[in-house]
Symmetry: C2
DNA sequence: CGGAGCGTTGAGCAACGTCAAAAGACGTGG
DNA sequence: CCACGTCTTTTGACGTTGCTCAACGCTCCG
């Protein structure tokens, strides 16, 4: 049943034999409640986590003015970078109830030591993550609130689509305005205004933990998603 | 003479035997003029570059509104992530005359295949880069122009210090207002105003390609550099 | 001496933050 | 079932930040 889940999302892009190898290494599968902190800044790590269900956020900065620096969707490793780094420089929190699988660093290292292509494949997963960080820097540095929010929704549309979690009409997105504030680097009040603009422009609406997309092309246009490099990175 | 340069900056944190290994792999050393583009988005890469002298910037977005997503100082690999990714999702440009050393991917792969600790060490270098991306996302998302600029100057102070390129009074920083605009995600005009504020606050001054620091503690305070994780990441 | 690039300054405006108030959503315990 | 507290969302008013446009000075170089 883990093999099944491994076929989806980013880990699903790995060759079959590597997914099998991962399935062997996998420790236990755990369910975790909403808004639980999995790691604090500075924590030493001895295992990494693969997200099977739900969303998780990674944060920097003081709680009252924190910035989300990455969001993970099912099929993503949440903190594989903690393996070479052996500590985390940011916090990790579940954005709702999640299901995860643990991968002990010992076992991963042992497998990689004798199989360079496997090591490079895992390395690549962490670099796709880094590519998303760059994409976020670009969004945070150069996008206005409205375009930035649309851009983020388009990113989610794309990434959740790859994980098989999207329909034509939209997808589950259990985020509060406070979450979107952390993601887009704007105030909660302004999040409310921007969502209203997107709604009234007939592009999309966020209600009941779900993003309903009314005009996907328009949303992507508003988010200035073009040759910006998201598809290239993830495909 | 390459061994000597390898002792400084980020690559200098590698164990001696790994630096020796790198020195063996190194291709030719090249000098490149100011404002030369080394790679375009989408380019396939067969070698990676170690920066020996000068500064380089990495950019996303259209030229007229581009965002710098990373800056490299001597001792940094500029595009080691292109090895597992085998293409670049952003542009790389020299910010002044630079000197670089080339490392063919073939040779790096061959060395890593038989030496897992070496592979993990290079992996770790790319993850420190990713950590800096996260730091930039935090700055771009949650810092005002003044604090953000101070934060960036503090980062340069710290990183150039590790590379041995800083004195008590300041360091060479051959950046134009347009560069700082790309770095901080603000307009060129506003860069001018912010620099004036920093100058008149007695913190630092940028003249003649050099940042003169008049009050380092005050600059760090203005940039809200504290337990934000930069030291932890780089040490 | 003329241009090109860079830096500075001011004026007006749009975007966004902060403060405050109030209404809705939701679960908990009585 | 209702009453209650808490969290979330919405809206208005007002102040601040930063952008755009425009003009002008500076420096460097041909």
């Amino acid at each position: 049943m883990l093999e099944e889940t491994l076929a989806k999302g980013l880990v699903g892009t790995l060759p079959r034999r590597m997914r099998a190898k991962l399935a062997e290494i996998a420790g236990d599968t755990v369910e975790i409640g909403s808004r639980q902190s999995l790691a604090q800044e500075g924590d030493a790590q001895t295992e990494s986590i693969l997200l099977l269900d739900g969303l998780m956020g990674r944060y920097m900065g003081p709680r009252e003015r924190r910035q989300m620096v990455a969001i993970q969707v099912p099929g993503d490793f949440v903190d594989l970078h903690a393996l070479p780094l052996d500590k985390l420089d940011h916090e990790v929190e579940s954005l709702g109830p999640v299901r995860i699988a643990r991968f002990p660093h010992d076992a991963l290292r042992a497998a990689m030591a004798g199989d360079y292509p496997f090591a490079e494949a895992l390395w690549k997963l962490t670099l796709i993550d880094a590519g998303l960080h760059r994409y976020w820097s670009y969004r945070l540095g150069r996008f206005r609130a409205l375009a930035g929010m649309a851009n983020f929704f388009a990113e989610m549309d794309h990434r959740l689509g790859r994980a098989g979690l999207r329909t034509e009409e939209g997808f589950a997105l259990p985020l509060t305005h406070a979450d979107l504030s952390d993601i887009c680097g704007i105030s909660q009040v302004h999040v409310s205004r921007v969502l209203k603009d997107l709604r009234e422009a007939g592009l999309c609406a966020l209600q009941g933990g779900r993003l309903t997309i009314h005009d996907r092309a328009g949303l992507y246009r508003m988010g200035e998603v073009s040759g910006a490099g998201l598809e290239e990175l993830l495909d």
